[in-house]
């Protein structure tokens, strides 16, 4: 992860945006360091695209300010911002060749000679491995190649900030994985700060240095992929990033270093890592990721053991998903298929009686 300077490279201060009576972005404040890949993650209508468009200058904030490299961007029109965007639809100019598309922004750069310009375009095409396609028209190249044209075009002017709007959404699954790593390597080589808007949590997890999870126009949590995954700040974030089993719970008391909870749905008391500030009788949520659940035939030692039976199971190849019926709830558990083998190699089969357990440190207690 890139080191952060004292003064943040991009500072968004209390930005709101309303369209009529609809508030698309509500009082968002964020800072992004130079050279970071920062993701805005959220479902459709969460305000992430509006926020991105305000950074590009296509929308003006109703309230709040945006500073880029110390400069207030409010009055700067889009064509003067050192911020370029890779559009979701790629917005490739259909009447220009690949080369002309990539070089388009450079023609506005005063003092750049024709030769320099051609050299920059060639370097960009080289960067995205499109040199052989320079003379083609957009309709003569594939979707993945168009995506790279859009990237090269946006990078050609050496922006301070590159905005990527759902950069991988239009690609098929296989190409998407490959392109993810390509984007990361290009970011590393150019050192440009990336801001990525995405609705795909896996994409955000792999690409980003940090993620801001948005919902209903507000930022719910900002953190590294590990932070938002392992320590989500709210039920929403826990549910949005990855899947989760969550249950209503009541605090019984602190048993340092543990916290004891009453979880009616699991039919037993549960120990989790202690969390200061909670008082007995307080209502909270208990969240456990499916892969943190252990499935065993025999009762394991230690706390947090529940008996149940396998209701459903689905094998995905590298791992299996179990749905296990406990007395008061249906939980999901992931188990890695570590052993190669036939049906018999499975931990458990349909209707088998099993034990489900988890480590106190694996569970998350959510107040919100």
């Amino acid at each position: 992860m890139a080191a952060q300077d004292d003064a943040p490279f991009l500072r968004i201060e209390g930005v709101s945006k309303s369209f009529g009576t609809f508030e698309a972005v509500k009082n968002v404040s964020l800072t992004v360091g130079k050279g970071e890949i920062f993701s805005l993650l959220g479902g459709s209508g969460c305000g992430k695209t509006t926020l991105l468009r305000m950074l590009a200058g296509f929308e003006t904030p109703t309230k709040g300010r945006i500073f880029l490299d110390g400069r207030d961007m409010a009055a700067v029109p889009p064509w003067e911002r050192p911020v370029h965007m890779m559009f979701q639809s790629y917005a490739i100019f259909p009447h220009m060749t690949v080369e002309a598309n990539v070089g388009y922004g450079l023609k506005h750069e005063v003092g750049l000679s024709k030769a320099d310009r051609a050299a920059r375009v060639a370097a960009m095409l080289d960067l995205v491995q499109l040199s052989p396609f320079a003379k083609r028209k957009p309709h003569q190249i594939s979707g993945g190649q168009r995506q790279r044209v859009a990237l090269a075009r946006a990078l050609a002017r050496q922006p301070k900030l590159l905005l990527l709007d759902e950069p991988l959404a239009a690609l098929d699954k296989k190409l998407r994985e490959h392109t993810q790593f390509e984007l990361m390597s290009i970011q590393e080589r150019t050192g440009v700060t990336f801001i990525v808007v995405t609705h795909d949590q896996e994409e955000a997890m792999t690409l980003s240095d940090r993620i801001a999870v948005m919902e209903k126009g507000e930022v719910r949590q900002v953190g590294t992929p590990t932070e938002v995954y392992e320590s989500p700040a709210s039920r929403f974030v826990a549910g949005f990033i990855g899947s989760v089993n969550s249950f209503d719970a009541t605090v019984i008391g602190h048993e340092v270093p543990h916290l004891r909870l009453d979880v009616p749905a699991l039919g037993s008391e549960i120990l989790t890592r202690d969390m200061p500030g909670l008082v007995a009788g307080q209502h909270v949520s208990l969240a456990v990721r499916p892969e943190k659940l252990r499935i065993t035939k025999d009762r394991p030692d230690g706390p947090n053991c529940m008996a149940g039976h396998v209701k459903d199971l689905a094998c995905f190849g590298k791992d299996s998903l179990y749905r296990i019926a406990l007395p008061g709830a249906l939980v999901q558990a992931h188990a890695v298929n570590a052993r190669r083998g036939d049906e018999g190699a499975r931990i458990a089969d349909w209707d088998d009686a099993v034990w489900v357990s988890f480590d106190p440190s694996s569970a998350i207690v959510l107040v919100d």
Binding site: A56, G57, F58, P77, P78, W79, E80, R81, V83, H84, M85, F87, S89, A91, F93, P94, H95, Y104, G105, H108, E109, K137, H139, R153, A154, R157
Partner: protein
Amino acid sequence: MARGRFARWFDNRGWTLLLIGAPYVWLVILFLLPFLIVVAMSVATNTPTAPPFSFGGDHPWINLEPFTRVLTDGLYLRAFLTSILNAFVAMVLCLLIGYPMALGLTRVSKSWRTILLMLVILPFWTSFLLRVYAWMGLMGKNSWFNGLLTDFWNVLVPLDWAIRSVPMMHTNFAVVLVMVYTYLPFMILPLYASLERLDPTLDEAAMDLGSRPYQVFLDVTLPQSIPGIIAGGMLVFIPAAGELVIPSLVGNASQPMIGKIIQDEFGQARDWPMASAVAVALLVLMVVPTMIYSRYQAKAEGAK
């Protein structure tokens, strides 16, 4: 269930044959055949018989005299020139007025757009003749509109140049003005159709890459609307060049357009071969560029 052989034939082939055949035969008899007759007529010889033409016999099978006259006689050349000039100026003016209007239509709110588009289309449904006539009322010497223009002129220029009315009726200017008026919707609609299809994110992309709005227009909007410009231009130019009604009502009789020449050759001069030759010449002038364009368009479509 036993079905007759005819019924089976009808289901399998007859139905298709009927669907294609009926309009096909109609068009061949009432459009293609008359047209071919005109083409043949253009190389016939004019005779004082009824009907006034002859093939073979005392006359040559192919008589190229009408075409030589079209190419050498000043009367025809001047008429062609007047037609092309009037139609071209009208087309350019339609483009200059219609383009910003079409662009404006894509930028207004949805509900306004519906209303304004209807206002553009409405003249289509009203009589062409009456739209020409409406301008006759405005251009006449005593009309309020002419009076307004006269006053405007008189205020602007020195007293010596003052005029009593603007001479508008029976000029090529009047012909062009009325052509622009009647054909403007033909320009606006294809332009609007091509502009409305454009992806607005392309504009944003160009702006994002450093283009000011006027550069965005020149680099992105204009090049992409060229098919609309060509379509609109042809929809105005072709009927305008062959126009008969407008010059007969507001034009200068001493500078006839080609439609009037065809009508006169046929009616007053009773020279069918000559009328046909002029018609064929006009057609070549109109249709050849159209065909080249549609070939080009088909190629462009095929490339996609």
